[in-house]
Symmetry: C2
Subunit: 517 residues, 2 copies
Amino acid sequence: MLGLGLSLGFFFGFTMKAPEWKFPESSTTPIDKLLKPQYADSSDLFTGLNKIAKLLGQTNVSYDKEDLIAYASNSYSTHSPSSDQRPKMICYPRSTEEVSEVLKVCHQYSIPVVPYSGGTSIEGNFISTRPGLLLSLANMDNIINFNKQDLDVTVQPAVGWQDLNAYLEPEGFMIGPDPGPGGQIGGMIGTSCSGTNAARYGTMKENCISVTVVLADGTIVKTKNRPRKSSAGYNLTAIFVGSEGTLGIVTEATLKVHVKPKVERVSVVSFPRIIDATNMVTQLIQEDIVVNAVELLDDNMISVINQTGQLKKSWPVAPTLFIKLGGSEENVLQRLTQKIEGISLENNATQFQSAGNNQDSEDLWMARKIGFWSTIEYAKQNISPDIKVWVTDVAVPISKLSKIMDETAKEVKESGVFGTVLGHVGDGNFHCILTYKPEEYEKVKQISANAVRRAIDNEGTCTGEHGVGVGKRQYLIEELGENSVNLMRKLKMALDPKRILNPDKIIKIDPEDPNKF
Amino acid sequence: MLGLGLSLGFFFGFTMKAPEWKFPESSTTPIDKLLKPQYADSSDLFTGLNKIAKLLGQTNVSYDKEDLIAYASNSYSTHSPSSDQRPKMICYPRSTEEVSEVLKVCHQYSIPVVPYSGGTSIEGNFISTRPGLLLSLANMDNIINFNKQDLDVTVQPAVGWQDLNAYLEPEGFMIGPDPGPGGQIGGMIGTSCSGTNAARYGTMKENCISVTVVLADGTIVKTKNRPRKSSAGYNLTAIFVGSEGTLGIVTEATLKVHVKPKVERVSVVSFPRIIDATNMVTQLIQEDIVVNAVELLDDNMISVINQTGQLKKSWPVAPTLFIKLGGSEENVLQRLTQKIEGISLENNATQFQSAGNNQDSEDLWMARKIGFWSTIEYAKQNISPDIKVWVTDVAVPISKLSKIMDETAKEVKESGVFGTVLGHVGDGNFHCILTYKPEEYEKVKQISANAVRRAIDNEGTCTGEHGVGVGKRQYLIEELGENSVNLMRKLKMALDPKRILNPDKIIKIDPEDPNKF
């Protein structure tokens, strides 16, 4: 294919070089209207990277093999890079202006750039699919300004969400999203992450007030000022949240800050069936009872966390809801907890336990917190020490949730691989944490594919909070249709015509890309 | 300019015809990199409109002069069309597919298209700046599907928000945004409107789950399925909300539905100064007291509504907060009302009155509701029967609000024109309703300009909820900078390369556009 494309291009001259220009009047860009992108050859790559090293200084770049490997992936990613999918160089700019200078060089020499902050995403979102630069934001980790009165905070992209909360907490504040530990603001914006708090505070989409972005050609853009509300033109902020670094590199973000609830009350409710739990959540929503978080753990997950020995008590092995209320007055939450207990009984709950104070609440919530790592630890100890993990991430309208959770949990059990299920049920979002031995790879891939297709068949999405990365591009087409994905590609080509920014993520940008997904 | 541009283009051949193609490698599109758009000449216009008439049937188009004038503007717009700024034809498609067919013809013949639903926007958002088609969505006014369990509703664009609420209300539900009466979903998405409820439920941005859009070339795109949460690629929904019909025509939308509060309690609080009122609102926010609405009326506004004779009682002529609480339990709201009363006293309130039941609450809220029309009526009766109205609409971070409200209210009083001030203070958003005689046009324009510049100088926006339309394009540049606006133009050119969709709104698309704004 490669040879044919190039030789045809050569034969027909410039009209073949950029056939997208022949279709400027369409509103979308189908993949077959593009030619293969022309990235820097090894000589240009060498020249360009050298220029960047000179620009930033040798202490702010690295060619160290260990670094290049360390930045290529993490140990818990669903999709791992092949051994040649590594950056050629890592650079560490210190300011928006330096990021701009770096991108100007990359743009000039057509060098692929993968932005990197926390490196905790798991869909292969930061794999160096093409020889190029990894742009680490590690040197940009300052909290720039906290506007207490306006409840917003402006930060650089390498600020970790936990560090940010530690900074805000003494004054009684917090940010909304709470993804996996280690996540940093840049990547959190990239995947439009969320976590357990989304039930009340929304996802990164609802929590970004404004971002400063460096575009592919080095242009610096601020998407908005600081007002909470605005109708001032296109919603540029929203274009970058969830774009996984494919449209621009976020170098600064203003986020909403929330008042941290003075009082928190956690209740833990066991049910005979998943549907009883989701019915209860539906009823909470219909009665406008605002919870701060509501999480569903399946029986396998409960079993695993019971076995960790880390908890003060063990729970009945059954589908279980963890419900967190937050507020400023203890007696209001107490009354609400009673109401919730009543609703749980209406929905066949077999056990209801609630915390009497903040410390008890934290103890109960701990069970929810350790779910992910407990599953991996359990499988390592009981199945195989070199177990691997595949995490699914689908979301559907809540009326469809119990059906697809049930079907997926059943399939996991029948498959013989060990997996647990964890749902952010208030958002209709759930994960299977599938552990597998190398020879079971195809099996878990199929389970994951089935979970995704079930979600899509039920008006849902292939990804609720982890992003598309490299593994879900085909699902995106199945979910939204060719036209929608072609519109995304039109946007990509408009903002990044040389296709240098985090290539091959979310959408195919290369007609000769051999991967089906 | 026109002659020079054209003759140079002719001289240099195709390279001059579309110079934007000469700069495909940049991430933004400055206005001076574009040539004047080439719209249909009168012969092509005639042919194209005839094709559309044939397509839809003569009963679904109109050339009637009265219709053309009626659809050109409304009586309360800040910016009115000149007498030649009228559509050449109105068409009334009945389905997404028909809208697509119409746009294919417009695209082929380069015919400008202005989409139209409620026609209540006031920034000249639907002026036919170029001879072309007005696409009325009046025949697409069905509520398609209400998913009670998932709290979402799918509607066509000509459904009015009040009608939708009337449909949802018997079952105990409502939608979030509550803009001016007569607004319809299509236009509400176009301007990313909001209203008093945004304090709790957010604006149209936060309330659109998904839209179906017809792009400039007729391509039909659905932006998302129905899950509440998604990280599935670029946020296409967000690209269209607030784009004022310049990027696509929304033909279907899935909106969030909210549980209508069973109990509502309104309190009315008078203050000596505006800053006392905004201080109180800041304190409410800092103490995480969730109000359903909090509106600030200045002394002029109170005076005007007192004089309508429509209310059961009159209020002290002073800056006044109208605070609405909503919930499911009366005693919770009662306790909260007491708390709010305490906070109001801490902030120098001179009078606090709260409603004892839902009916009393509605009576109190009525005063807020009649503010806009009362101002116009007052000015008609007391100043001049052919008074005109100019409504400003700025938003800032709440810490800056009292300062710019004060300064603006002072300027209005000193100017001698009669105006009232109305603030959605929870969102940092406020309006001046300026009434003026024709000879005072330049004066109110200046007041408005000053209000906008004050907002921009205070990290705010030139429009909180009305949109940019034709009058605020220059402010958008002052607010966000050239790069951001050039990025918007890049998006516009990508999705609508012939610049046929609602031309001249939000951003300049014609380098020879003579209007500074």
